[in-house]
Assembly symmetry: C2
């Protein structure tokens, strides 16, 4: 067992380990930039992912690199912070050591004085884990690349299909879950079918593709205001999207999905199903709950105190999508970022010897927004509601500004201009060989 | 058996099948844009790859999408051309049918009047195919992505290594083959180690990385003029690259490579080996040779007549890296492109009923060039030799102009400016989970 926490330069200073380099984890590290502590930021990927734009990678607008800068570059200028590419597999709360594995299966033992766990969330299939093969979700860059291969691959296979039923199955896309991710992805699926792809195919008419969006809730964008919900539904329907509300997925296989709604049970023949319905907390939440003798909630989230500390574990904090607080905060980037800054500052104070009880974490809701295809969006900024092009420009501004680095901001803007003006161009449309084979396996699994 | 060559719109017109959407194949299709023929362009990937810039994907400068536009978009405006994503597995020269498999293993039978095979080349390990596991080459986007994961992953693993020998093994990079690809890749490896990565690591000094370039020839860039060879060698050595000439790889495993040179046999401990040494023709060359009762040359290339037609097969042409001609042309993009245009025009004339014997294909050598790290290059333009920054600007201009689409040109320029001026930024540095696992497997294979 080697402890790489004890390299010479890292002697007696307070050790802070941050698990997860997402919105929460990076904010913790940033808040500790000038603190007299040694920060170790561990993530199982080498990048900081801007998840809200993943759907644009899945639909060919953006290249993965623009929304996933190298994590160690993000904290490059903080000399007190080191970045490790490793997956945490155990946390010893008594000995105060985080155990992780590097990609070469080398074991890393990271002692801490303060630990912040920001592991995020993953897809939840509500007890139907086998659906993950048929209806992939979108949480990582690799998820988005696979989805891109599957979506664009479906058109390729439709083009060579000799059987009409098979062709229709390839040209039917079902998105399960009409939250912001589901709505944004559906809008782009419609853009691809209606405007981007038609002139490239000779056998099929891509405009005939069926795009179905379903949700168990009675409206799209459940947490948004009714006015914005109606606007969104109207716009999507105008783009040819079939919306099925109060509708649940009850079964699926490689070829079809069975849904139950107000009009009864219906089996839709569709090759491509995309899961945007449920999330569950990172397994790290259950690990910490077990270690402290508590239980997670239905979504696998860990209960934390109002200061984001973990009851029953000294110096341990948990933030973001993997925790639940008494005020039931939504699982969005803003919450994780604000919690990250809060906990980072709290630890910085503690490291200075300030042991006063901090004011509890308070979430400042800046608003929520979602795009609907190109040039349309809805936004709710502290009660003020925007729709249409103005909301879209607001969405563009906010999302570009939250990207890390001017290069990525300019590169993203450039791709957006290209996707809007220049013949609705989608510049990043690679189908990987692995992806094309996955479409094939998908077929064989039928 | 379904023949998708017989869809209604494609009745009695002359059928041209083009196998391969690389430099050669796309030029054939373009030359037939206004001909009264039906063109079917088959490729096993969905993109047209600009191979000369692959090394910039492998080293994080460019995103894959910029050098790999969707093939069906490239020929979108040619209504007589359809694109199929499928792999050719057989060609029936008697029945004049190309047999291919779509990603879902559906069999496609493509009848032709004229066939152009432009399958390109792949890596050759000179009878040591097992080396492909230890020293991957770079011919596809997936190759480049894997190399990027391996190169950047090696630094990640060096950072957590506890054993000094292991750390040195991760920080040693050996490039086998000092042609343009080997030289350009080596230059960028040096840039990464010396300028891009140093401030991001806390344990290792990336500037101590050993970068070795070896070649069996007595000089780098063997086909270039001695003056340019010397300049290149001098520049690389100034960047800290060890150059070993008259040196052959004789053995390798996951941990090391054994080389034999003027100073005897030496085993270098190095995790990362990159193969830029030999190429061999696509297996389609051997398939066609067998079918016509001829033999391929040592590099697996098919002999064609001066008009690029295949002796003994009616209406069949072969072009690019997979063929050999009497005038021993180099395996470069320019040759494939010029042959493509030549054959495309020839077929267009034939389809019009012009059966005169064409003038043999004549290669117009526009020159050759290679970059050496950032802001340095060598170029030989019809005997006029350039070195340094001027050659670099010339290289930039030529390579940007050969990219397809203004969006890709601007996007590439943008990334170049970013990589030069803005803190030598490498914007596309994703290590995929598959890639990180590959680094791990690479380790286990030891």
């Amino acid at each position: 067992m080697s402890s790489i926490g004890d390299t010479p330069a890292r002697g007696d200073r307070t050790k802070v380990v941050v698990v997860g380099g997402g919105f929460g984890g990076v904010r913790v590290a940033k808040a500790l930039a000038h603190a007299d502590v040694d920060v170790t930021l561990v993530d199982r990927t080498n990048h900081h992912l801007f998840q809200p734009l993943l759907y644009q990678v899945a639909t060919g607008i953006l290249s993965p690199g623009l929304i996933a800068p190298a994590l160690r570059r993000v904290v490059k200028k903080q000399s007190n912070t080191r970045t490790l590419l490793a997956e945490v597999f155990d946390i010893d709360l008594q000995a105060k050591v985080v155990h992780a594995l590097a990609p070469n299966e080398q074991r890393l033992d990271l002692p801490y004085d303060y630990l912040v766990v920001a592991g995020g969330a993953t897809h939840a299939y509500f007890g139907h884990d086998e659906w993950s093969h048929f209806a992939p979700g979108m949480k990582s860059i690799e998820d988005a690349r696979m989805l891109r291969s599957q979506i664009l691959g479906a058109y390729e296979l439709a083009e060579v299909a000799t059987d009409e039923k098979e062709r229709d199955a390839y040209l039917t896309f079902v998105v399960v879950g009409a939250g912001p991710t589901g709505v944004e992805l559906t809008g782009q699926l419609a853009e691809l079918a209606r405007y981007v792809l038609p002139k490239e195919y000779r056998t099929i008419d891509t405009r005939s593709a069926r795009i179905i969006l379903l949700d168990a809730a009675p409206s799209v964008l459940p947490p948004f205001a009714p006015k914005l919900q109606q606007y969104t539904q109207h716009r999507l329907e105008k783009m040819g999207v079939e919306i099925r509300l109060n509708t649940l997925a009850t079964d699926m296989d490689a070829d079809s999905i069975t849904v139950k709604g107000p009009e009864g049970v219906d089996t839709i023949t569709a090759r491509t199903k995309i899961w945007a319905a449920g999330v569950q907390a990172s397994p790290l939440a259950a690990m910490l709950a077990k270690a402290t003798g508590t239980e997670t909630d239905r979504a696998g989230r860990l209960a934390v105190d109002p200061d984001c500390s973990l009851p029953g574990a000294e110096g341990v904090y948990a933030i973001g999508d993997m925790v639940s607080t008494v005020d039931r905060l939504p699982g969005v980037a803003q919450v994780a970022m604000q919690q990250g800054t809060y906990v980072g500052r709290l630890i910085a104070n503690r490291a200075k010897g300030d042991d006063t009880t901090p004011a509890p974490f308070h979430y400042f809701d800046k608003g929520s927004m979602a795009t609907i295809g190109a040039r349309q969006a809805v936004a709710d900024v502290r009660g003020v509601k925007f729709t249409g092009y103005l909301a879209y420009l607001l969405w563009c501004y906010v999302h570009v500004m939250f990207l890390i680095g001017w290069g990525n901001r300019l590169g993203t803007l450039f791709n957006w201009v290209r996707s809007l003006r220049y013949a609705r161009h989608r510049g990043h449309r690679l189908i990987s060989m692995t992806g094309a084979q996955a479409v094939a396996r998908h077929h064989e699994a039928a």
